[in-house]
């Protein structure tokens, strides 16, 4: 399997943010880690079908030039929108969890929920 730079970088970023999920106590940091994981995936998708010197698939490209594969880019717009929505829902839940339990980290929230 041949790896290129962006691929290695996004795999690294994915697992570094996963490490963030494992280690952070605070819920908001977990949300941010998920956001970063998603960015890593998006970056990976955008690198698919890209080689340096290629044109972006915008407007009327002359037929002589090769353009980058537009499909992953279109997909990633959807993924970004879904990601934004999910993070928004996460944050709203975090706010109401905070209002209800006065807890900002996982352990405190767990303790409160058991009462």
């Amino acid at each position: 399997m041949v790896f290129d730079i962006i691929e290695i970088f996004s795999v690294l970023m994915f697992f570094i943010s996963f490490y963030g999920l494992i280690t952070s106590k605070s819920i908001i940091k977990s949300v941010v880690s998920i956001l970063l994981m998603e960015s890593a995936v998006i970056m990976f998708f955008l690198s698919i079908g890209y080689t340096s010197g290629i044109m972006p698939p915008i407007g009327q490209n002359p037929e002589t030039e090769t353009v980058a594969d537009p499909l992953p880019q279109a997909l990633m717009i959807t993924a970004i929108i879904i990601g934004v929505a999910v993070v928004a829902v996460n944050l709203i839940m975090l706010i109401s969890l905070y209002r209800q339990c006065k807890a900002k980290d996982w352990d405190a929230a767990k303790k409160k929920s058991m009462e």
Binding site: I34, A85, L94, Q100
Partner: protein, 528 residues
């Protein structure tokens, strides 16, 4: 035509969002839902002879978004629309607001979408949106416990979906298509070693969705949280998890070059055993049912990965049966919780005397789930068992023994004298009708088992009378054994409390996701 299966539930959802409190509106919803079940049967009869494909936007196949119904997915669509019909009848007299109805029926559309979609990215979108809808439904009552449980459910599933999306990216990079059928053709040609990473990423996500060991900690939180309406718990446990099992079948098919089915066989067995150990130690009625789902899923996964047509078909039929009896149990539990105002099985007593009908339904569902002869569970468990060799068959028997002990303990709610005086309020006729239908189907599914399997899955299987009698003898032996073990060891054991208190935190769950991913990677690398 296939798009209607997704659109009709969404239209019902919007309609009920606008008219949440009118009875006529709900009646129209139930009638439309009935029509959808009819339509699902129509699709099923077409799919018996050919696959139905519809390309959204009239692009060619493999280029645009494809919906495809085949013999398997049409069965799942019948199941989905039927269970939602039952739940719509069950909640007919409830006073929920528009948001509840909206999310409930949106959820149906999304689930049917998962069964129909043949596009990897579409599946991502559907799974992610389902997660959000379900999380809001779990926290519907907004108490501390369900807020925390819903939050954990949402976050851990989002993490899993990121793994899935990454895997999808690799598949696209390798094949250049997102269509499952087209990708399968390309992946066959490729070198095995390049498939390992995408396979490990995707199957980690799917295994979390299926709640396999060690990724099951979110399931009892989501399915058993006290605040969630019992209709939601019933669909989650009966149906939602089957969507994940369906994806498991799909992706094992897609990556069949690198799948190590022995690994998942072992994981399935461990899941079954761990599930019943936790189930028999709980005292919350909903948590018992939730953990028992884990154990049954373990059995299904074992059967699916056992290389034998009988086990495979038995597992598919068990998916169907589990949906029936687990929904029946959850919905009846909802009624009982209302009557007794508690969820503690030590405090609920005398259900059979207080409401004989609910008691009868619970008895039928329990007889189904423990695999009593003439009930549906016995047929599917017989087939799973008959295809296995000795060690796996022994494990299946052990899981069934655990299920028997769990439900002997559970059935103590049926008899005895109630400690607290139950609420004398009259029970809802719609709810009783809904659970009665499910309970009766458990019996019908047992008596007509052979014919139903041939009808649904197009596989000719025959129940060998001698084998069935042998299985019945084994069942009787394990029932007696289970009763004795329960009486002698389990009933007052102090260990129950210790097991009950084992619980992973969110970080623990993330660690288990990472560990599972690493193990899959290593196992696939070594053995595929």
């Amino acid at each position: 035509m296939l798009a209607y299966f997704v659109i009709i539930p969404i239209l019902i959802a919007v309609f009920l969002y606008v008219f949440p409190s009118s009875k006529a509106g709900r009646l129209i919803a139930v009638i439309t839902q009935t029509a959808l079940v009819g339509l699902a049967f129509y699709l099923f009869f077409i799919c018996k002879s050919r696959d139905v494909v519809s390309n959204i936007g009239n692009y060619e196949s493999f280029l645009g978004i494809t919906l495809r119904a085949d013999a398997l997915s049409s069965v799942f669509i019948i199941l989905t629309s039927f269970i939602f019909l039952i739940v719509a009848v069950y909640t007919f007299n409830e006073k929920y607001n528009g948001l509840f109805w909206f999310l409930l029926f949106i959820w149906e559309g999304l689930l049917i979408g998962i069964f129909l979609s043949r596009d990897l990215f579409n599946i991502f979108v559907l799974v992610e949106v389902t997660t959000v809808a379900v999380a809001v439904l779990i926290m519907f009552n907004r108490d501390n416990r369900s807020m925390y449980d819903g939050m954990v459910y949402l976050m851990i599933n989002t993490v899993a979906v990121q793994f899935y999306l990454f895997g999808t990216g690799y598949v696209y990079k390798l094949t250049g298509v997102l269509d499952i059928d087209a990708a399968a053709k390309v992946l066959e040609e490729l070198d095995k070693s390049s498939l390992i990473l995408p396979y490990a990423l995707i199957i980690t996500a799917i295994s979390l969705k299926c709640a396999l060991v060690p990724l099951f900690s979110w399931l009892p939180k989501a399915h058993g949280t006290p605040g969630a309406p019992s209709a939601v718990s019933a669909i989650l446990s009966g149906l939602h998890i089957k969507g994940a099992v369906y994806l498991f079948i799909q992706f094992n098919d897609l990556f069949k070059e690198v799948v190590v089915s022995e690994f998942f066989l072992i994981i399935g067995i461990i899941t079954g055993i761990v599930g019943f150990i936790f189930a028999m130690s709980q005292k919350d009625i909903k948590l018992i049912l939730a953990y028992s789902t884990i154990s049954q899923i373990g059995m299904i996964i074992t059967g699916l990965n056992n290389d034998d047509i009988y086990s495979y078909t038995g597992s598919l039929y068990h998916i169907f049966n589990h949906a029936l009896f687990k929904s029946a149990l959850f919905l009846s539990a909802g009624i009982i919780i209302k009557i007794y105002n508690t969820r503690d099985i030590y405090k609920i007593r005398g259900v059979l005397k207080r409401s004989p009908l609910i008691g009868a339904v619970i008895i039928m569902a329990i007889l189904g789930i423990i695999g009593t002869p003439f009930f549906n569970g016995s047929v599917s468990k017989y087939f799973i068992f008959s295809g296995t060799s000795l060690p796996v068959g022994g494990a299946i028997l052990l899981i069934n023994l655990g299920t028997i002990i769990t439900f002997i303990r559970f059935s103590s709610i049926l008899f005895g004298k109630p400690q607290t005086e139950p609420d004398p309020a009259k029970t809802d006729k719609c709810k009783q009708a809904a659970v009665l239908v499910l309970g009766t189907l458990c019996l019908v599914g047992g008596i007509l088992g052979e014919q139903l399997i041939e009808f649904l899955f197009n596989v000719k299987v025959s129940v060998d009378t001698a084998g069935y009698l042998q299985k019945s003898a084994l069942f009787t032996a394990s029932a007696v054994g289970g009763y004795l073990i329960y009486k002698l060891y389990i009933k007052n054991s102090p260990r129950l409390k210790q097991v009950r208190e084992i619980e992973l935190s969110f970080r623990g769950m993330c660690v288990s996701v990472g560990a599972f991913f690493a193990v899959v990677l290593v196992v696939t690398k070594l053995f595929a």
